[in-house]
């Protein structure tokens, strides 16, 4: 819908794969940080017009 592709990730991680989970989370947070804060799908300040 126009949200930056880097913001969404899917992975299969078994409950036994703790190191993989850590790796994936690291990678994802880095990727999202690179994209920067989400400016799109958030409501702007609520103000009187």
């Amino acid at each position: 819908m126009g949200v930056e592709p880097g913001r969404v990730h899917f992975s299969w991680i078994s409950s036994a794969e703790s190191t993989k989970f850590v790796d994936v989370v690291k990678k994802v947070t880095e990727a999202v940080r690179a994209v920067g804060p989400n400016q799109k799908f958030v409501k702007k300040e609520l103000k009187v017009a």
Binding site: M1, G2, P5, F10, S11, K43
Partner: protein, 315 residues
């Protein structure tokens, strides 16, 4: 079209007279050009109200949800596919229904015809392969095939997929149709372009929910936008809320939508929200070879698991 109408009336009369059904659901003449009104007939004497022409775009499967009586329903190709979906999703039982199948030649795009006319349209006459559009001081004739609703122009299931009676011989299905030209154009956009495109697309939305309510798939007792505990979506005209509604609604139709065009047709603001459902329809087709509502014997892809389900999106 007159032949269709006569045949529908004949069948309805017979079904009511023989007490095969209690109610016939079809269309009657509207008070506006290019508008027919869904109606129910319970009495043999009223059967002649039923009509058929190119202005029967509302999907009648929408009127079957959770009914308990025996019903005959007039169904064009897409309606019949939504009836199949309704049966699969337990919204109606097959045994309750007598489906009066109508081979469909596409519905007229009332918005387009109005926009092309030089003045207010007061009368539209379908005449075989052409359409005559009349108004104060003008009369224009167009080829019918150029005046179809966008979804009908790319429809490849014009004939009912399920029926008990057929009002005419099947029509030839359209061949070599490029169904997803519009979706591909959006897919090719950058994230930024998509964002702007959807923003402009949805800007006129007034959240009247005509699209949702005209959709036979949207039968939830309480729609997610109406939930209060928790409240998922704000109720104002904030664009984030408007967008959330349209996108989430489309997701709820994934693998179920037949592209009947009711949502777009119903919208008072003329928004083409079909681009959302069509994208998901395309995905369902490309990922699982699935087209909704073609068979009573197949479960939809989103409620079945197969070990070989595609998962290219997983990293």
């Amino acid at each position: 079209m007159i032949a269709y109408t006569d045949k529908i009336r004949d069948i309805a009369r017979r079904l009511l007279k023989d007490c095969r059904v209690e109610t016939v659901i079809g269309f009657r003449n509207g008070s506006m050009p290019m508008m027919n009104e869904p109606c129910f007939i319970k009495n043999v004497d009223d059967v002649d109200h039923l009509i058929w022409d190119g202005n029967c775009g509302i999907n009648l499967a929408n009127y079957l949800t959770n009914r308990t009586d025996k019903i005959a329903v007039v169904a064009k190709g897409c309606d019949s596919r939504n009836i199949v979906t309704h049966i699969i999703e337990n919204k109606i039982k097959r045994e309750q229904l007598v489906i009066i199948g109508v081979p469909c030649k596409g519905m007229l795009d009332k918005r387009r015809i109005k926009a092309m006319a030089p003045g207010e349209v007061t009368r539209v006459v379908e005449d075989g392969e052409s359409v005559r559009v009349c108004g104060a001081g003008f009369e224009k004739t167009y080829p019918r095939k150029d005046m179809l609703q966008a979804n009908c122009a790319v429809c490849i299931h014009r004939n009912p997929v399920i029926y008990d009676e057929l009002v005419a011989d099947p029509v030839p299905e359209q061949q070599n149709v490029d169904r997803y030209e519009d979706v591909r154009a959006i897919e090719a956009m950058s994230a930024e372009e998509k964002w702007t495109y959807f923003e402009n697309l949805l800007a006129p939305c007034i959240r009247c929910y005509a699209c949702r309510n005209a959709c036979p798939l949207c039968y939830c007792p309480t729609c997610f936008v109406d939930e209060s505990t928790p409240q998922w979506v704000g109720k104002s005209q904030n664009p984030v809320d408007v967008r959330t509604f349209h996108f989430l609604r489309a997701y709820h139709c994934a693998g179920r939508c037949t592209d009947c065009g009711s949502c777009e047709r119903a919208c008072p603001m003329g928004i083409n929200m079909r681009v959302f459902t069509k994208k998901l329809e395309k995905e369902a087709f490309e990922q699982w070879g699935w087209e909704a509502g073609l068979s009573l014997d197949q479960r939809p892809p989103l409620d079945t698991y197969r070990p070989d389900d595609p998962q290219d999106f997983m990293k």
